[in-house]
Symmetry: C2
C-alpha cells in the first residue's frame, strides 16, 4: 500500500534496536481518515474469504479492527490482556510473550463471542516475531472457528514471524513489509 | 438514542453492585454497524462545536472514538494507562482512580498530539463517578486545547459524575442515562 509506505517514510521514526515508531498515525494518534483506507485495503484482500468476524488485541489493534469490521459489516472482538488467571472458565486463553517488554501475559476472549460458526480475520498494527498473532490464532483454533487469515499494517520482515506463518499455510497480508532500517540515518527499506 | 436503550434492555446484564455488563456490543465484542450509528449521533450532537480532534482512553473507548472521528473526519488520540512514572517529560499526565478496581493509575498523552489549536471532543463508553472523564479533561486543560464537550455512550446517572460535570458548565451528552437497576429482576430504568 503506497500511501502507507509514504506515511512511514514521512512520519515514522527509527530508533536503535530496530524500533519503528509510528505513533503519529497508527497507535497513539490515529489518522482515522487514513485508517479508513487501510480498512478498505484489507477488505479488498480478504473479501472472498467469507469473513464474518474480525479479531484483534487491545489496545492498538482496536481502531484498525473497527474500521476493518466496518468494511465487512461484521462485529469486532478484541482479546484482552490480563495478568490474572482465568477463574471463570468461560474464556479461551493463550499466552503471549512480549518481545518488546520481555514479559509474558495471558490473552482472553469470552467463549460467547467466538465459536465454530465463525470465519475470522485477525488484524493487528504490527507483526514482528509473531507472538501476538500466534496467540490470537490459538484462540481461534481453541474456539473451533475457521481462520480466514491475518491482516497486518506493518510487518517487520527481518524478524521472520510473517514468513513462518506463511510457511504454515496461513494467509498473511501485510500492507507494508519493512526489510531493514538504519537508525543512524533514519532510513527504512521495504520488501518489494 | 432509542436503538441503544433497546440494545441495553435486550443484551445488557445487570449484576449486584450496580454493574451493567454490555460486553456483547460495547466493550469486548463490538457491534461495529451499530457503533457507526453511535458515531453519527455524536456528530449530530457536537457538529456545531468546531471539533478537530477526538480524545478517548484505552482500551474500550478506542472503537467508539474511531467511529466518531470518522464522522468528524479528524484524528483520534487515545490516552494510555500506565503504572510507570513519566520520565521523558514530553507527555501530559493525570491520575485516575478506578472505582471498579480500587486502584489509581496515570494516564498520559504525548504533547505532540494535543495542543492549544485543538478543539477536543472527549468520548468514552461509560460515565459513572466521572474519574476517567475528569482525568481526560485535565489533559485537555494542561495542553491549552479547548474542550468542546464529552460524549458518553452509557451514563450511570445515579453515580452523579455526569451531573457534576454539567454543573461545572461542561457539555456532556450521554446516549443513554441509566437511573436505576435491579439485579434481582435484571431491570434497567432510564432517565427521561
Amino acid at each position: 500500500m503506497n500511501l502507507l509506505k509514504e506515511k512511514i517514510l514521512k512520519e515514522g521514526e527509527v530508533y536503535e534496536g530496530n524500533i519503528l515508531k509510528v505513533d503519529a498515525f497508527l497507535n497513539h494518534r490515529i489518522d482515522v481518515p487514513f485508517m479508513r483506507e487501510v480498512g478498505k485495503e484489507f477488505y479488498r484482500l480478504f473479501k472472498d474469504e467469507g469473513v464474518n468476524k474480525i479479531l484483534t488485541i487491545e489496545a492498538s489493534g482496536i481502531a484498525i479492527g473497527a474500521l476493518v469490521a466496518q468494511e465487512f459489516d461484521c462485529p469486532l472482538v478484541f482479546a484482552k490482556k490480563t495478568k490474572t488467571k482465568n477463574i471463570a472458565g468461560d474464556v479461551y486463553t493463550s499466552k503471549v510473550e512480549s518481545f518488546t517488554h520481555g514479559t509474558t501475559y495471558d490473552i482472553i476472549v469470552s467463549k460467547r463471542f467466538l465459536n465454530k460458526n465463525d470465519k475470522v480475520l485477525i488484524v493487528d498494527d504490527f507483526l514482528a516475531v509473531g507472538n501476538a498473532l500466534n496467540g490470537l490464532i490459538d484462540l481461534v483454533r481453541e474456539s473451533g472457528a475457521e481462520l480466514a487469515g491475518c491482516g497486518v499494517v506493518i510487518e517487520k520482515g527481518f524478524q521472520r514471524g510473517g514468513d513462518k506463518l506463511r510457511e504454515q499455510g496461513v494467509k498473511v497480508e501485510s500492507l507494508a513489509i519493512v526489510e531493514s532500517m538504519d537508525h543512524t540515518t533514519g532510513q527504512v527499506f521495504f520488501r518489494d
